[in-house]
């Protein structure tokens, strides 16, 4: 961790980057930190409690500006960064990645190839919480699932924390803000809420890296991350991709195979 601070301070001092996005201690757990100078870099921490997906900040031009910046990245963050790269939202010349690997060694990545090679070593496994809730949902009948989600959806008040926390929700105008036509009613109501979350999941097909940031952000505790997580688990093997390890341009939804499944088509 000390190495990370030193390195961050050094690259800020020598002008390699003008900003380091990392983590600091927060009220209850680490929170995002923006370091503009060596002084603030002293506050940097990086450990297993660091959960926020900092990739969410990388597409905000008002924060990262036009210069080069660094980010201390978790595996989840790295996966998101790779997806953002595939979607033409990041370029190598603007980004420097700092991370601390499992052995506690400070690592730096400059190219997407390097990130990709590193990310490849990590399997995307369900957490205990995810496993517990998903097992429960998977054991339900369709009606039970409907009732489960309707109850959950009744709590959603459309604060869009899920959207704001997701690194891949970077549209300047989200579909819920489109009003010609008004695809999704903007007020909170069970159907409008469900439409929003189904829509979000559809928009994540082939893109979601299952970082869990959306569910973590939800102030009313809806396990929305599991909708996209389950979708990802279903779709990744079906369409043959590994989240966060994009191989070519496009994504699972904008490509196809001749022998895609179609037994549901009459």
């Amino acid at each position: 961790m000390e190495k990370l601070r030193e390195r961050a301070a050094a690259i800020l001092a020598d002008g390699t980057v003008s900003l380091v996005i990392g983590y600091e201690e927060g009220t209850k757990r680490p929170r995002p930190l923006f370091c503009h100078d060596g002084e603030s870099a002293r506050k940097l921490i990086f450990d297993s409690r660091c959960f926020h997906n900092l990739a969410v900040y990388l597409t905000k031009k008002e924060l990262v500006g036009n210069g080069r910046f660094a980010v201390t990245a978790t595996i989840s963050t790295l996966r998101s960064i790779m997806q953002l790269y595939v979607e033409n939202q990041l370029s190598e010349d603007k980004l420097l990645i700092l991370t601390v690997d499992l052995s506690g060694t400070l690592r730096e990545f400059v190219t997407f190839d390097e990130i990709s090679a590193y990310v490849e070593q990590f399997e995307l496994k369900r957490s205990e919480r995810e496993q517990a809730i998903l097992t429960r949902i998977e054991g339900m009948t369709r009606e039970e699932r409907w009732n489960f989600w309707q109850e959950e959806m009744s709590h959603c008040f459309k604060c869009y924390a899920c959207r704001s926390a997701c690194p891949l929700c970077y549209c300047t105008k989200c579909v819920v803000e489109v009003n010609r036509p008004q695809w999704i009613n903007p007020w909170p109501a069970p159907v409008a809420n469900m439409e929003w979350h189904i829509n979000r999941a559809m928009h994540m097909v082939g893109r979601c890296t299952a970082c869990g940031a959306c569910g973590d952000a939800c102030p009313v505790g809806i396990p929305i991350d599991l909708i996209t997580r389950k979708m990802m688990e279903d779709m990744a093997p079906e369409f043959g991709y590994i989240p966060g390890l994009p191989v070519k341009k496009g994504n699972a939804l904008s490509t196809w195979k001749l022998d895609d499944r179609e037994q549901f088509i009459r």
């Binding site: 927060g26 009220t27 923006f34 008002e62 704001s164 105008k173 007020w187 102030p219």
Partner: protein, 336 residues
């Protein structure tokens, strides 16, 4: 105001009489690992041993979405149906925290600024508030810094302060409170002279409101907004859990030739909140939106409505996905 004593069984009996009177009763319920206000029928459903509900009770007087009026179109003609205040049922809010009850005043101040708000007022009129003073607090609570206290009576019709014997001190504040007492008058016994403050959580003030107000009045162009807001991701969680945030949107719910005009919650933190059709956005950056939130509560509202827009409930800090701790931010401004 009258102070009475009510025993444990008296509370149970009184609660039942309120439910039996046909009023809707809302109370904090422990569900899905969260404490939230829900409609209840039995006292046993009500949660205890918690610091704060996730959401405030403001939806009872300012629903997330409500119909302003409805209309029907026919051959170029339009028939309007106004909002009917009689459609609002009588409601009792049970076990509201003083910081939530205190939120009714700033909320009403916004809604009734110059022109009265028929809908909000109808809800307020049909709503009675039974607050419980606070014996617990956490690091996010700061009511005592914003003119409140764990035993603040503002906004309450009746306030109960729980006693170790399971009974409570009942402070009957308003005629509405008296009407509730009248549902079961016998359970209210004479005041036993207990000192209420003994049972309140000790929460020292964290900043001086006057100082903060004075500083903020001059802080529009300060760099603090950019510094504080960097990690803000621009969601509406803080606004939606807040007991006093009142920003709203007006929308259309159309079904063929009939439709309804809807008022629904909105948040000044959303990037497109102030976007003009021309593409110009007066609050283009998150820092401007963060500034708006704080200045509105601590500078504009005191100046224009003579009320502070914050009750110190701490919900926004707890709800924030990125730990935008309002107390920390305000304190740092106060200490500048």
């Amino acid at each position: 105001m009258e102070t009475k004593y009510i025993s444990k069984s008296g509370i149970e009996q009184w609660f039942k009489s309120i439910v039996d009177s046909g009023k809707r009763v809302y109370a904090p319920v422990n569900s899905r690992d969260q404490i939230e206000f829900k409609r209840v029928k039995n006292l046993s459903e009500v949660a205890d041993e918690y610091v704060q509900t996730t959401q405030s009770i403001k939806a009872s007087v300012y629903p997330k979405a409500e119909v302003l009026f409805s209309y029907e179109k026919e051959h170029g003609k339009v028939h309007l149906t106004d909002f009917n205040p009689d459609s609002i049922p009588e409601t009792v809010l049970w076990k509201v925290h003083p910081c939530d009850a205190a939120g009714f005043k700033p909320l009403s101040a916004i809604f009734n600024w110059d022109s009265p708000d028929k809908l909000h007022n109808a809800h307020v009129q049909k709503t009675s508030v039974i607050s419980f003073s606070c014996a617990m607090a956490d690091e996010s609570c700061f009511c005592t810094s914003v003119n409140g206290s764990p035993g603040n009576l503002a906004g309450s019709d009746i306030q109960l302060t729980m006693l170790p014997d399971g009974g409570a001190i009942a402070e009957i504040v308003t005629p509405k409170g008296e009407a509730l007492v009248a549902l079961s008058p016998t359970v209210f016994e004479a005041d036993k002279g207990e000192d209420k403050t003994k049972y309140l959580v000790d929460l020292p003030a964290r900043f001086s409101l006057e100082e903060v107000n004075a500083k903020l009045n001059k802080a529009f162009n300060s760099t603090v907004w950019k510094e504080q807001s960097e990690r803000c991701i621009g969601c509406g969680a803080c606004a939606f859990v807040c007991p006093t945030c009142a920003c709203f949107d007006i929308q259309e719910d159309v079904h063929g030739s009939t439709g309804r005009r809807i008022r629904c919650w909105d948040a000044c933190g959303f990037g497109l909140f102030t976007l003009h059709t021309s593409g110009h956005n007066p609050r283009e950056h998150q820092s401007q939106r963060w500034r708006q939130r704080l200045l509105h509560k601590f500078s504009y509202m005191p100046a224009r409505l003579n009320v502070v827009g914050c009750t110190g409930c701490g919900r926004c800090s707890r709800a924030c996905p990125v730990d935008m701790n309002i107390l920390e931010h305000i304190t740092s401004i106060a200490e500048q």
